[in-house]
């Protein structure tokens, strides 16, 4: 079969279970395509030889009862993988080899999947274009010199280019949904507490969530089913009854009430986004959903709130990188000098900027004015959603205020870069699940996404709505393999 890499995860699982394909054949195909796709710079660390060995071992004694039997897969380089370098896209972790495995990746290997390598991302997941990575830009397979979104940019590029059948990312303010939207793929940010944060390099602990990225909703549901488990090693992991998301997936969403928040109609919104949203509303109606206008009055305050809360938590989380216990060290004249040089040389510009913002808002005299204020506004934002969910089952919005932009276009203006996350950030602040599905193209043929936001722990419902709408939208990604010579 020459077109193995074109198959969806569900097809590959079926073909391996039906003994039409072996894990070695599948792994070989994805490794070969990854080898030919170095120009995308989607990988930071490749582990192909080990992957092929593991596939061979799987085929010798295949366990076909598993959910991901012998499926090869690359993951975002924010997940700690035992004995395989984990960098978080940073120079400061350039030589870090974890001695333990993240819970989310362990869940994946327990279901038979095979690690192919670690995917590029913005440094410590801080960025919306994958341009802050110490390991360089990632190319969007949609077009040359186009960003793949961020921070899970290597992940979105690799799934869209079919270097991996499926992957996982992390989402603190939009880092799964925005890159999914930029590459014509599907990305789910689960409810806070659904997937364990154990072994994920921490950015902002009250916002970080891992989630699946895939070519379609069904694959996304299957991976979510695998990665979402209660974990006592994460004190904010929540013990709730999890659905069998892929088995319970249905296109029957008749009578579901879907809210349209008027505040998401932002001033600078391009007409093509507005049109996409209108089209989305029509698709939802066609599926039998009832459309209801709602208000989320504090939407405009979400980004300013996020740019206090996230840097504050980051400045505290990143205090551990001191050149003593692990990672990069710069020599200094004394201990303090060593700390300061290590952090100045080890962190990139965006990470340093955010550590400084966070340190400032937490510093004596400013804590109440900034950090406490932001926590209070965060409460108002969550209350908006709580009120809306008294009337509706889910909320439909665009995923991003624009399509993918060119590499270098927004690097000099941090605030314009931050505006990318205007529709995704409120969801993290409220701890809710959100999914981005591809829904159309702009004038250049670049993909555009729609976001469906759910109630806490209601992943099944937004997956169902996405599944029903996906069929109506019938989106086709236009990828020409321009990077393969």
């Amino acid at each position: 079969m020459s077109d193995i890499t074109k198959q969806s995860l569900s097809e590959l699982v079926e073909n391996i279970k039906g003994k039409k394909l072996s894990s070695s054949e599948v792994t070989n195909a994805f490794v070969e395509r990854s080898e030919k796709s170095k120009e995308l710079n989607a990988y930071i660390t490749e582990d192909y030889a080990n992957a092929l060995n593991k596939a061979k071992k799987f085929d010798e004694k295949p366990n076909l009862d598993l959910k991901l039997p012998g499926i090869p897969m690359a993951v975002k380089d924010l997940f700690c993988t035992r004995d395989l370098r984990t960098t978080a896209g940073s120079k400061i972790l350039n030589n870090f080899v974890p001695t333990y495995e993240s819970t989310v990746t362990q869940n994946i290997w327990n279901q038979g999947a095979i690690l192919m390598g670690k995917l590029n991302c913005d440094e410590f997941a801080m960025g919306s274009s994958n341009e802050t990575s110490f390991f360089g830009n990632v190319q969007n397979p949609i077009d040359k010199n186009l960003v793949p979104g961020g921070s899970s940019g290597g992940s979105s590029s690799a799934v869209a280019a079919q270097l991996t059948p499926i992957t996982i990312g992390t989402d603190t303010g939009g880092s799964i949904r925005q890159p999914a939207s930029f590459t014509g793929t599907v990305g789910l940010k689960p409810t806070y507490g659904s997937c364990s944060r154990y072994g994920i390099v921490a950015f902002a602990s009250s916002l970080d969530q891992a989630g699946p990225m895939a070519q379609n909703v069904k694959d996304c549901a299957l991976l979510q089913e695998v990665i979402s488990t209660y974990d006592e090693k994460d004190s904010t992991s929540i013990d709730f009854k999890r659905n069998e998301y892929s088995k319970e997936l249905t296109k029957d969403i008749k009578g579901k009430k879907i809210g349209i928040p008027k505040e998401y109609r932002v001033d600078s919104m391009p007409k093509e986004i507005e049109d996409l949203w209108k089209k989305g509303i029509e698709y939802a109606k066609d599926c039998g959903a009832e459309i209801i206008d709602i208000s989320l009055p504090h939407t405009n305050y979400a980004l300013p709130t996020y740019y206090i809360v996230a840097p504050a938590e980051a400045s505290s989380n990143l205090a551990r990188y001191d050149g003593v216990k692990y990672g990069f060290r710069a020599e200094g004249e004394n201990l303090i000098d060593m700390y300061e040089k290590t952090r100045s040389e080890g962190f990139g510009a965006e990470v340093q900027r955010r550590i400084m913002i966070g340190t400032y808002v937490l510093s004596s005299g400013y804590y109440d004015a900034y950090y406490l204020k932001a926590q209070k506004v965060r409460k108002l934002i969550k209350n908006d959603f709580d009120d809306a969910y008294k009337k509706v089952d889910a909320i439909l919005t665009p995923s991003t205020p624009s399509s993918a932009f060119k590499i270098g276009e927004k690097t000099n203006d941090p605030v314009s870069m931050y505006l990318n996350d205007i529709f995704t950030v409120p969801v993290n602040l409220a701890g809710l699940p959100g999914i981005s599905i591809p829904a159309g193209h702009d004038a250049n043929g670049y993909p555009l996404g729609l976001q469906i936001i759910g109630k806490a722990f209601d992943e099944q419902n937004i997956l169902n709505i996405a599944y029903a709408m996906e069929e109506k939208i019938n989106f086709k990604n236009n990828i020409t393999d321009w990077w393969i010579k």
Binding site: I238, K325, R343
Partner: protein, 95 residues
């Protein structure tokens, strides 16, 4: 509000990140534009609002106090940039 170079130097000290003059000027510009954007929050009255510290509305679970991982010394030391058998090594602290 404006963040001046003196404040940048102060934050850089607290952050343990060294900055030279050129970097300090760039950071002052960036931080001022970001804080202009953040100031929007002052439009809201929040006197009677409870701060939200965690969206996970659960209380922490208790667990029994037992050792689950043992003999991790080698693993803990493994990634250290400089070590001497059982210790992390840093520049001399006490003269």
């Amino acid at each position: 509000m404006s963040i001046d170079l003196k404040t940048i130097k102060h934050i850089s000290k607290l952050s343990r990140i060294s900055v030279d003059e050129k970097k300090a000027e760039k950071l002052a510009g960036d931080l001022n534009s970001i804080f202009d954007f953040i100031e929007k929050l002052n439009e809201l009255k929040t006197d009677n609002v409870e701060p939200l510290t965690s969206v996970a509305e659960t209380t922490l679970k208790l667990r029994s106090d037992e050792v689950k991982s043992k003999n991790l010394r080698d693993q803990v030391i493994k990634n250290s940039p400089k070590e001497n058998e059982d210790y992390f090594v840093v520049p001399k602290v006490i003269e």
